[in-house]
Each structure stands twice: as structure tokens, then as C-alpha cells.
Symmetry: C2
Subunit: 414 residues, 2 copies
């Protein structure tokens, strides 16, 4: 007997058949006596179809009307899911963001949730109904339809779970949960039973993109127990827990994230004066280019090397900007490396365990992998290397830190 908020994404509700499967899953929770609130996305492809119609009219569609248009996608899904539940004999009622109501600010296409009115949902749950809510959308104080931006359905689910004081928020997706690293790179990557919010944030932002980072922040802030699990395969998934102490055994490292397709730019030999980092990086971010790692080192001769990484797709534009900055600052030279990758070890256990970084560096040295950059945070160590060694580095570290699934051999022998 628990109150559970479940979120199903576009692939999980991508067809009438898939919606029927979701209804079956919801039904098992009802049969178990749980109260269920379901948050749905638009059927996969629908948002693109609607966006295509809008772009057939104008390149930059009016944001207010874009929200009116896109919000129909989730509305259609929620009605279909209610029908599928009713067919199975389960009472179900659908509500748009506005009907709930989910009050947001007025920033169309990327509104932020301000308040959620839980009374209507609670009343329906008390009557024994499943409540199905359109994800990704809300309503501002003037009754205008707003949307939370792509992926906003996760945020809707977490915010609803917080407002309703749900026992758990379950995000159904097409993976079984969060792994120690990408199973496509490391065969024996292990499904994590639990992970802390902080670790999840570092892993998500570093490439293990299972959950929208905004919803993880939100869940952490409002202490909503969050679980990631698969729509298509049974299993407990991964619980994103409030406290690291929840774990029976505390592994030092939770997982290894990595990022391909990055490039590195170094502006070498600039004057070591205050404001120099801003002079180099300001123009880059002004151009809307996302900068990842930034490292600054003062050389023995009193000049400065500033190195940063960008997505490879942005390299041409970023290096042109950097070149013009380098010229105006009379920098000694501009160095560009087109093909680098980043590997990060993440784990709250790092805080109290010395030697993680040195073990990491030794492991890479044993494989003769040269480290180009190092950055660290409280619960993360990231290194930048030549992209061609990326997979080797991930596998070596995964093995060195004993992250492998002990049952892996057994499974593959079945």
C-alpha cells in the first residue's frame, strides 16, 4: 500500500500496443493495493510531427503557440492510456497540466514549475482511480498553456511525487537502470541497485544520460526517492537514494562515465594577469558554445596556458574565436587537438578514501595511456586522453576498481 508516481516516456507509449503494455504494468501495482499516478510523454514521433507542422509555417514559431501545439501530444497519450486502463476494469482519469493544476512561470517552451495543486489528484485516488497526468506541461497564472522543454516529463513526475508526498517516483525507460559504465563498452558492467543523487548528477552530466539532470536535482532537493527501471523488462532497476548510508556495502566508486567526440584547445603563453581566463573563454561562451573541462596552469616563465574542451562539432567555430583572442593577447601559440575523450570516476566514497586518483593514474600508466588533462571535484576525477584509448581506459579502470558484475560469467554461460 504505497503511493507511487510512474513516468513512461515516448518509446514506452509509442504505439497502441505499447500503451496496452503500460496499462498492464500499472494494473499490477493497483492489484498490489498501491495508489498510482502515471505521467506520460507524447507518443514517440508525435512531438517531431507537430514541430514539423509549426516549422512549415515559421522558422521560429511563436513560443506561446508552440506550447499550445506541443502540449496536445501528451494530452492524446493520457486519454489513450486511460481507455486502456478502463478496458481492463480499472477506473482512470486523465488531467492536463492545467487541469491538475501545475502552475509554472510564463517562460514559454522552458517554463519552471512553481506550485502543484494536489487536491484533485488525491480526490481521484481516494475514489480508487488511477490518475494519468500529461507530462512536460503546465499552466501559468494567466491560464496560458506552458511547457517545460524537452524531457520535461521526468520533471513533472518528480515534482508531482514531491507535491503528493509519494513513496516513490519510478521513471520507466528503455534501459534496466544505471550501470557502472556503458555496457556496450564494458561487457560485465554491473546494474547498480542504488546510487546517491550526487553520484547520479555527476554520471548524468558526464554522459550516462538515463535521466534528465533537472529532474534528478529536483528529486534530490525535495528528497523524492527516485527509481529508474525498464518498461520492457522486469527488474528492480536502480534506486537513487537520499543517503549514501542506505547502501549495505559502500563501494568507493559508483561508476565510470565517459564522453567521446570532444576536442581540446590550448591558448599557450598568455600573460598571467587577473581576468585572463575570462578574456579567453568569454567570447567562446558568448557564441553559445558549451565548454566542458577548463584547466589553467602557470608556467615557470610567468606566462599562462589555458586549455579547454568543447564538443567536436563546435571545434571549428571555437578555434576561430580562440585564434582571434590569441592574436589580440599576443599568445605564444594556439594548440588544437581534434580527437580527445574524457573519462570520469564518480563516487561519494571518494571523499573519505585517499588514493583513488593515484590508483587511476597508475592503471592508465600500466596501459601506456598518456593523460593530457586532469580535473577533480569532491566526488569525481576526470581525465582527458587521446580518443583512441578511450575504451581501453574505461575497461581497465572498470576492472581495476572491481566494478564488474560477479554473476557475469555465469550469465554468459547460460
Amino acid at each position: 500500500m504505497a503511493l507511487i508516481v510512474q513516468k513512461y516516456g515516448g518509446t514506452s507509449v509509442g504505439s497502441v500496443e505499447r500503451i496496452e503494455e503500460v496499462a498492464d504494468k500499472v494494473a499490477t501495482f493497483r492489484d498490489n493495493g498501491d495508489d498510482v499516478v502515471v505521467v506520460v510523454s507524447a507518443m514517440s514521433g508525435e512531438t517531431n510531427r507537430l514541430t514539423g507542422l509549426a516549422h512549415g509555417i515559421m522558422k521560429n514559431p511563436t513560443p506561446r503557440e508552440m506550447d499550445v501545439l506541443l502540449s496536445t501530444g501528451e494530452q492524446a497519450t493520457m486519454a489513450l492510456l486511460c481507455m486502456a486502463l478502463e478496458k481492463r476494469g480499472y477506473g482512470a482519469r486523465s488531467f492536463t497540466g492545467g487541469q491538475v493544476k501545475i502552475l509554472t512561470c510564463s517562460t514559454h517552451t522552458k517554463a519552471r514549475i512553481q506550485e502543484i495543486e494536489g487536491s484533485r489528484i488525491h480526490a481521484q485516488l481516494e475514489q480508487g482511480n488511477v490518475v494519468v497526468v500529461a507530462g512536460f506541461q503546465g499552466m501559468d497564472e494567466h491560464n496560458n498553456i506552458t511547457t517545460l522543454g524537452r524531457g520535461g516529463s521526468d520533471t513533472t513526475a518528480v515534482a508531482l511525487a514531491a507535491a503528493l508526498e509519494a513513496d516513490e517516483c519510478q521513471i520507466y525507460t528503455d534501459v534496466k537502470g544505471v550501470y557502472t559504465t556503458d555496457p556496450r563498452v564494458v561487457e560485465d558492467a554491473r546494474l547498480l541497485a542504488s546510487i546517491t543523487f550526487e553520484e547520479m548528477l555527476e554520471l548524468a552530466s558526464l554522459g550516462a544520460k538515463v535521466l534528465q539532470i533537472r529532474s534528478v536535482e529536483f528529486a534530490g532537493k525535495y528528497k523524492v526517492p527516485l527509481r529508474v527501471l525498464s518498461t520492457f523488462e522486469d527488474g528492480p532497476g536502480t534506486l537513487i537514494s537520499l543517503e549514501e548510508d542506505d547502501r549495505m556495502e559502500k563501494p568507493t566508486i559508483a561508476g565510470i562515465a565517459f564522453e567521446r567526440d570532444e576536442a581540446k584547445i590550448t591558448v599557450a603563453g598568455v600573460p598571467d594577469v587577473p581576468g585572463i581566463a575570462y578574456k579567453v573563454l568569454g567570447p567562446v561562451s558568448d557564441a553559445g558554445i558549451e565548454v566542458d573541462v577548463i584547466v589553467q596552469n602557470v608556467a615557470a616563465d610567468g606566462t599562462n596556458d589555458i586549455t579547454f574542451t568543447v564538443k567536436r562539432a563546435d571545434l571549428e567555430q571555437a578555434s576561430a574565436i580562440a585564434q582571434s583572442v590569441a592574436t589580440s593577447l599576443k599568445a605564444r601559440e594556439l594548440l588544437v587537438d581534434r580527437k580527445i575523450g574524457k573519462v570520469s570516476l564518480v563516487g561519494v566514497g571518494m571523499r573519505s578514501h585517499a588514493g583513488i586518483a593515484s590508483k587511476m593514474f597508475k592503471t592508465l600508466a600500466d596501459e601506456a595511456i598518456n593523460i593530457q588533462l586532469i580535473t577533480t571535484s569532491e566526488i569525481k576525477v576526470s581525465i582527458v586522453i587521446d580518443e583512441k584509448y578511450l575504451e581501453l581506459a574505461v575497461r581497465a579502470l572498470h576492472s581495476a576498481f572491481d566494478l564488474g558484475d560477479p554473476d557475469y560469467e555465469k550469465q554468459s554461460n547460460n
Copy 2:
């Protein structure tokens, strides 16, 4: 400087290109200084697509959720039309039925409008914006989405025009207006400049299905000047006027409606006692069969003949019922005519002009067309004849009552 409510149906907004054309049309009214409120339907095909999804889940979808689902169609159109207007530099704001708000009863899939709140629309018009409203939908007192049933967008437009005290309600469709009869049958059928509500009701129910009959009733009741005109061709269309005196020249007959595919059943020789009509027709209507003309005549022998017509598609079922009734009433015989048609003269002028009916009968006699049944109302005379003479009868009457377009010869010589 007028306040105009315009309604565009599914074909008129059937593609992005069509929506752009509608925006052009709306723009000409704005340029002329008019305030415009536009009511839109779902893009043609969209309602069928959504219905198909619902039927993929259940045969009789939950009415509440069907409304949630179908209402997305108009919502998408209204957003796209606003974008097209904004692109042209015209301020535009879209509103769902619930946002307006259009309050309805709670009878899902065929709700009736109870009240319309005009303040939000007036405020937008005062700011110089075009207001685009989703047709066909409203919201009940509990904030549930409702729909008015198929064709409900016409009703939305008329109801909005009444609530806003608009100067005119324009229904854009794929015909140029209301004709004296079907131009496919009578080549020189004339486009009517105006017609009264009563005439329009009789013509609409008799087969000249240009407008939803419910919206015509509504417009008549609230004295909303209604105009039917073409989205695709310029022209004044047909004004459905409040008073017959509005017309400069009062023709006796407004138009000729006709109905094919009917069948006739006569239960002959039943006792002439009170309640006999109910005994015959009660079981037919209980079976959900729509009965059109009903004629009863007492014969000289004191027995009764009851004749009625039904759609040909319903004949088999209706005659089986009639046979069983005839047997139980000991009727003399049951007569069935599979192929009959109905022709009706409609005109408010009939009230004050004697001789319309006799002129009609003489015209048909001159063509050797045998009249099988006659029924009359205040502004209508209907006759039932062998279906094979239907077109001949319509052409002969159209000519006898001088309904032809005087410019027709000229046009066809162009």
C-alpha cells in the same frame, strides 16, 4: 469596423498551406479594421486518426477520455493558425474551449453549451489581437474537457457570436453558399443572397446540408446574423437573415430540397381506433429507425391506411417490424415500395401565397409524374414520388417557380 466571428472547417485548415490561406483571409478583415474571432476545426483527417487510435484500444472508448483525445485536434490547428498570423505581423492568441471559457453540461461527446465567458476574448481584441478559439469543445463545471459532437465547431462559432454580440458570424465552407437547389441536378441553380432561418432549417433538414442544423437553430434563437461562404472562392455567400423583410424582392419559394434513397411502407386496413399510429410506428422508432414522412388516411370502409417512409438502408429491418405489427393488428396487407424520392418546396412566402401547392401538383402532372404522398407545413410542401422521376421533378419545379439564375446563360457562354 465590425466584430466578426469566422469559422473554418477541417478542409479549410487541412494542411499548412491551407492554414496560410486562412491567415491571408483573416488578415484582409483586420486590414479593414474589423475585430476578428476565428473558430477552427481539427485539420481534415486528424479526428479520424485520433478516433482510429482510440478504437485500437477499445470499441466504445470511455466518453470522458474520448473528449480529452479529440479536443487535441482543434488545439493543434488553433496554434498553427496563430503562428501563421504572427508571421504576417498580426497579433494572435489561441484559446481552448476551457480557456475561453465555454462552459458546457457534462454529457461527454455531445455536450451542450451553457454559458460563455467573453471577457478574456474582449480583452485580447482590445489589445488588437486576433483571437483563435478551438471549435467543438468546452469544459464542464468540474473542469473536465467536453466536446459538442461532430460538426460542433459551427455551434461554437454561433454561440461565441451570440455571447460576444458579434455583428456577423461567418461560416466558411467548400461551397459558395446556399443554392435554390443542388447545382449538380439543376444547372442554373441560383446562389441565394439571403434566406430566413426557418427556410434554412427546412432546407438543411431536407438534404441541402451546408450548415449543421443545430447551429442554425442556435443562430435563429439568439438572432445572430449568419453567413455561409466559401473559403476558396471570393464572394458574398448567403446571409441567413433574421427577418424575411430583409429581402428586397420576396420570392415565394426560397429553394427546392430533395431526398433520394428512401423507401415507403404502408400498413393497409388497420382498425381506425385511437392509438393505432403509435401501435404501428412505436416499434419502428424503438428499433432506432428514423422515420421521415408519416401519412394516415381513413378509408371509406372505416379502416385506416398508415404510410411512412424510411431510409432505404433501414427498409429490411423496418418492414420486418411492420409485418409483425400488421399481423398482430390483423391488417389487410403490407405494401412496400423500395424506391421512392421526396421533393420539397420551401419558402416563407408560402404562408401568404395561395396556390403554391396546386401549381406544384400541376407542374408534376404536366410531366406525367404520379404523386404518391403529400405532406405540408407552414413553409413547406413535400411530395413523395417514384425515385426515377426525382431529378425531372426538381428541374421542372425549379423552372416553373422561376428559380433559375438569370445570368446563367451568360456565364456558360464565357
